[in-house]
Symmetry: C2
Subunit: 303 residues, 2 copies
Amino acid sequence: MKFEVTILGNSSATPIFNRNPTSQILNINESLLMIDCGEGTQQQLLLYGIKYNRIHHIFISHLHGDHFFGLIGLISSMNLNGRTRPLKLFGPKNLLEILQIQLKYSDTRLAFELEFVALDPNNTGLIYETRDYTVETIPLNHRIPCTGFIFREKQRLRKILKEKVEPLNIPAEYYPLIKKGIDYVDKSGKTYKAIDLTTDPDVPRSYAYCSDTLMDDGYIKYLTKIDTLYHEATFMHDMLDRAKETHHTTASEAATIAKNVGAKTLLIGHFSARYKDLAPLLAEARTVFEETYIAKQGETFEI
Amino acid sequence: MKFEVTILGNSSATPIFNRNPTSQILNINESLLMIDCGEGTQQQLLLYGIKYNRIHHIFISHLHGDHFFGLIGLISSMNLNGRTRPLKLFGPKNLLEILQIQLKYSDTRLAFELEFVALDPNNTGLIYETRDYTVETIPLNHRIPCTGFIFREKQRLRKILKEKVEPLNIPAEYYPLIKKGIDYVDKSGKTYKAIDLTTDPDVPRSYAYCSDTLMDDGYIKYLTKIDTLYHEATFMHDMLDRAKETHHTTASEAATIAKNVGAKTLLIGHFSARYKDLAPLLAEARTVFEETYIAKQGETFEI
């Protein structure tokens, strides 16, 4: 099953030359989920050839502009490009009011349903579930209410070994049972163990998104069994005071979190405009956690 | 005196690859005025090296998203980059509410004064005046209230001919009078005609901005003494029905207007996403009005 994230923007606060504000596209089994939507996100989608009407759901972490100013434009363009498929939008409760007032004054009536799910930043846990994956929220610690997200693949069924089942002429309608681990008994009463007819399913993977936040146990405790952790790293650690003051994290802190929660991979992003060169941020994080990567615009990371 | 316009975006409705939504920077004697501000305008300013805190005033024509979705991001970035100089904003009255709700929920307090001037789309005439120029509004005919703008240099004073005044030892405090055309009389009672000591001032120039609109005498009658006319040309003339239906103009209509009002130059923009190649639009307009140019992104046109 495909499970990968494409970075559309990695700048904090303001766009700078070649770095756009935050947005990501998560592809889970060809279902496209957007996380945050800074200004210019629709232009980034054009640049990287991602059709915006393929996006199923959008998740907005908080109402600082660098995480949502691109949303009204994206929604408008979806509408102008003939979207009819509903769009599910998860975000802070006041986000809907911001969108509605702009739709009202521009005299826009959406031709698709905008299903809005208001996130309660004080609640955590499951907010959405499909056949393939779940989405949980975690409480980040920022200057305004802010929500992180954990996307987890569901446990898949066992995988049928065709070379084992086909010679036995097992009717196809038994396959779903065998995949679930139920043994097959043929007409003569002979039992074939499901475990012998199948292989183990892939281990479910998970992706956690933590931006923007102060380093804080309040959300770190939820980062269990995370494969890829995306964590903001707005500053180098020599600016720890500034990071705390502005409720952000340093590269070294992000790496410490990844190490402590046992993540396999860390992606860092949301870089301050003061860093023209990102290599020092990467180097700092790697001294703590080797498997760190820059969440570089246009790059896709398999989870 | 410098009087030029730089194009930041020329796309209608939605951005497409390499074409951003509408925005322009007018430089009048180093005073920078922005006209419209579609999504991604602040990124365009970065791309073309225009510091956004140099912008004095912003004029928004109407509340379709492709003309204002970039404004809240630009204002936020001005604030984050330490602007203290007041920003004067002219736009439809509901624009302020749209900005304020986003500033409120993002917990942003601007460190500079945002002086908002609500435009009444039913009124026309002078809305702003400085030592160097005037701004008038004209009533465009679009699906929602929409205002066009005419920027006119003021009549300048006559220009002193140094080679004429210096040999006469005329005290410098008389120069302003001579520039106004007042003759100089020296101590012996001899009169020197101002007209002989000066040359004619430059002829004042003017720039008119008409987007978005149906071709309509209601505003065309105000396009008097226009040097450079910017006019939307969303469609080719074979799509006249679609242009009328959506309250837009064709390239050939824009050229007809430029010809009829006696403009010196026509810039066309606000092109539909359906036109990958803009050459046919230019060719169509030039069959009617030779001095037509594409309002190409990143290009600066002297007025």
